[in-house]
């Protein structure tokens, strides 16, 4: 394996890890505020569909992005309504969101485009094309650092850079602002926040809305950055892997980056080397595909540190009994 191959695999890992990262940060905001969200998959799917559809009709990826985030936020609102206002079971609401997105997207796509639940292929401005960072071509020939900058760091869609920027922003918002302190408090001990005269309901709705935006960006990247259009069920379980990454990262933003990129890397390696020959044994591709879940289970079982979810997670807040 030469240096160029390693760069290519890492490059692929960044592309595959980015949707996971966005979804993982989305889940982070929601779960930190005490709202479990297994509907990430559905939100991404909804965003993928609306961005693909609007970008196909208008030929503008940015309008697609707005539509996609809008679609995702509408589902986030449904989840918020069910689990905050009506105090329903958050897991059931999340499952419902997934089912709703799965059926709704295909149905509307068929009715609009008559292509069997697909949107038309995107081309030109309808896609978020890779952007070349300044100086990327100039430093191409510099040994070692040149290829890293020009092939690995440069040449991604703008949404990848947005996703990476969201990591420090999320950290700063959660741990260095008053809003972040309140948001975390709502997920740990909502009564105390309420006693301080802050509306738990409003905090939770805000968190769920942020979740909608971030999961939406993830879906938009799938349909308009990586692929060229929407295909039914195209999220293919990425929302669930993002949840696994969230647990793996113990609900913290910087480890979330590490976890999602690790999962992306595992997928990239299995794409490149379906069966890994270790001399003694050959690792089948199924093993590589299962590793994210195995790691998550190991973490949950408490072998590597301990993953403790926010204390008030999953419990609807009742002001007075």
């Amino acid at each position: 394996m030469d240096f160029g191959t390693i760069i290519e695999i890492l490059d692929s890992a960044v592309r595959l890890g980015t949707p996971l990262l966005l979804a993982c940060l989305a889940g982070l905001f929601s779960e930190r505020a005490g709202i479990f969200d297994i509907g990430l998959e559905g939100k991404m799917l909804m965003a993928a569909f609306f961005s693909g559809a609007v970008a196909a009709v208008t030929g503008n990826a940015w309008l697609g992005l707005l539509a996609g985030v809008g679609g995702s936020m509408s589902l986030a609102f449904v989840h918020g309504l069910a689990s905050i206002t009506f105090r329903g079971n958050q897991l059931i609401s999340g499952v419902a969101v997934n089912f709703l997105a799965s059926g709704f997207t295909v149905l509307i796509a068929q009715s609009w485009f008559h292509q069997g639940g697909r949107t038309p292929q995107l081309s030109g401005n309808g896609r978020f094309d890779p952007i070349t960072l300044p100086g990327a071509d100039a430093v191409q020939d510099v040994p070692f650092l040149g290829p890293i900058y020009s092939n690995l760091i440069s040449g991604h869609s703008i949404l990848v850079y947005v996703a990476f920027a969201m990591v420090p922003i999320t950290w700063w918002v959660l741990f260095r602002t008053r809003f972040g302190l309140r948001l975390r408090a709502v997920g740990e001990n909502p009564e105390s926040v309420d006693t301080a005269g802050i509306s738990v309901i409003r905090m939770r709705y805000t968190a769920v809305a942020i979740t909608g935006v971030l999961a939406g960006l993830g879906g938009v990247y799938l349909a308009t950055g990586l692929a060229a259009g929407f295909v039914k069920e195209m999220t293919a379980g990425r929302g669930y892997i993002a949840l696994a990454a969230l647990i793996f990262a113990k609900w913290r933003p910087v480890p979330a980056l590490g976890a999602t990129m690790l999962f992306g890397l595992l997928e990239a390696i299995s794409n490149r080397y379906p069966n890994i020959d270790l001399g003694v044994i050959t690792l089948p591709i199924q093993f590589m595909q299962a590793v994210p879940y195995i790691l998550t289970v190991i973490i949950l079982a408490g072998f590597i540190g301990k993953a403790i979810p926010p204390r008030a997670g999953g419990q609807p807040y009742v002001k007075e009994r």
Binding site: T5, H114, G116, R118, L226, V231, M234, A268, N271
Partner: protein, 329 residues
């Protein structure tokens, strides 16, 4: 009470006779969905052609989840539909249990052999069609490396891969074929993002023609190939139009012909195994205006020659499913 019983009996008899009199054919599409631009859509086209030509009507059902299979099958059988055609190997086990319960209904299953007295099993010689596109891929390749992206890792898809590799090696014994399967669950049929990444990985390893046999995932493969300026090969339906001038050809699997024939036979459908190969016009390669500039006269000549040789038995293309192994890699 007796009146009521009689009334019920009469109503039941009426309903039964009405069901028998209808006897419309029916088709069930598998999880890929009716408009997958590929396998199921070909089946739909066959049903549509039958309806247009005969003026008849037919029933159809689209699967939404694994759990629905038996229910869907029983529902159609009880509604009096005859024959009932289903697309996809995944119906095999279900049909095996359901078919004996409806001895007067004829079933046809595509891509699977079900040994029941009222079932017609339609199997395609995909290895023959894949052999032809493999030859074309090897002739179009400049690097001597070509790629294959399969959907879910099942024997049927390995059959595609095996025929393809044999075709490639027939033209260029030194050619390298990079093979990838997208996954091991049904989600592997609908993951264009992963398909695109696999295609990119193959391109970076030197592949300049990539054959996708992966349903909706293949759309991502074709897209990544067009973006990376290499050629791709579509599957099942004619996919040449998706990226004109970038798709070398498509391996056609004439599921439409199979469905059309089954519908035309109606309740007189002949049970047993029906093999659709090159000789029966069951598989083939797509040539149209979109890939005219890519197909050289030599390719066309070689394909025609190979077609004749396969039909006459001079070339024997190995079928992966006959012994679960492939002689070449």
């Amino acid at each position: 009470m007796t009146y009521f019983t009689k009334f019920l009996g009469a109503a039941t008899a009426l309903a039964l006779s009405a069901g028998a009199a209808l006897a419309d054919p029916a088709i069930i599409y598998d999880l890929g969905g009716k408009y997958d631009k590929s396998f199921n859509e070909a089946a739909f086209n066959g049903a549509k052609r039958w309806a247009e030509e005969t003026g008849g009507s037919y029933k159809e059902l689209e699967m939404q989840s694994e759990a629905q299979r038996e229910q869907a099958l029983r529902k159609l059988a009880e509604s009096g539909a005859n024959p009932i055609v289903m697309t996809g190997f995944a119906f095999g086990d279900t049909l095996n249990t359901v078919a004996p319960d409806y001895p007067d209904t004829k079933f046809a299953i595509v891509d699977m052999v079900v040994d029941q007295p009222n079932v017609e099993s339609i199997v395609f010689k995909e290895e023959q069609g894949s052999y032809l596109v493999g030859m074309m891929a090897a002739m179009a390749s400049k690097t001597g490396t070509v790629g294959f992206v399969g959907g879910m890792d099942i024997p049927l898809i390995r059959k595609f891969a095996c025929g393809y590799v044999q075709g490639v090696k027939a033209v260029n014994p030194d050619a390298k074929v990079i093979q990838n399967m997208t996954g091991t669950t049904p989600a592997a049929w609908n993951d264009p993002v992963k398909g695109g990444e696999i295609a990119k990985a193959q391109i970076s390893q030197g592949a300049d023609v990539i054959y996708a046999a992966a349903g909706g995932t293949g759309i991502g493969v074709l897209q990544a190939a067009a973006d990376g300026d290499v050629l791709s090969i579509g599957v099942d339906s004619n996919q040449n139009y998706l990226h004109p001038g970038k798709v070398l050809t498509s391996m056609l699997k004439r599921v439409d012909n199979a469905v059309y024939d089954a519908f035309s036979a109606g309740p007189d459908l002949k049970p047993g195994i029906r093999v659709m190969g090159l000789a029966q016009n069951g598989v083939g390669v797509a040539m149209d205006d979109n890939n005219k500039s890519l197909v050289t006269p030599e390719m066309e000549k070689a394909v025609e020659q190979a077609k004749a040789d396969i039909a006459s038995g001079k070339i024997e293309v190995h079928d992966y499913m006959s012994d679960d192994s492939c002689p070449v890699e």
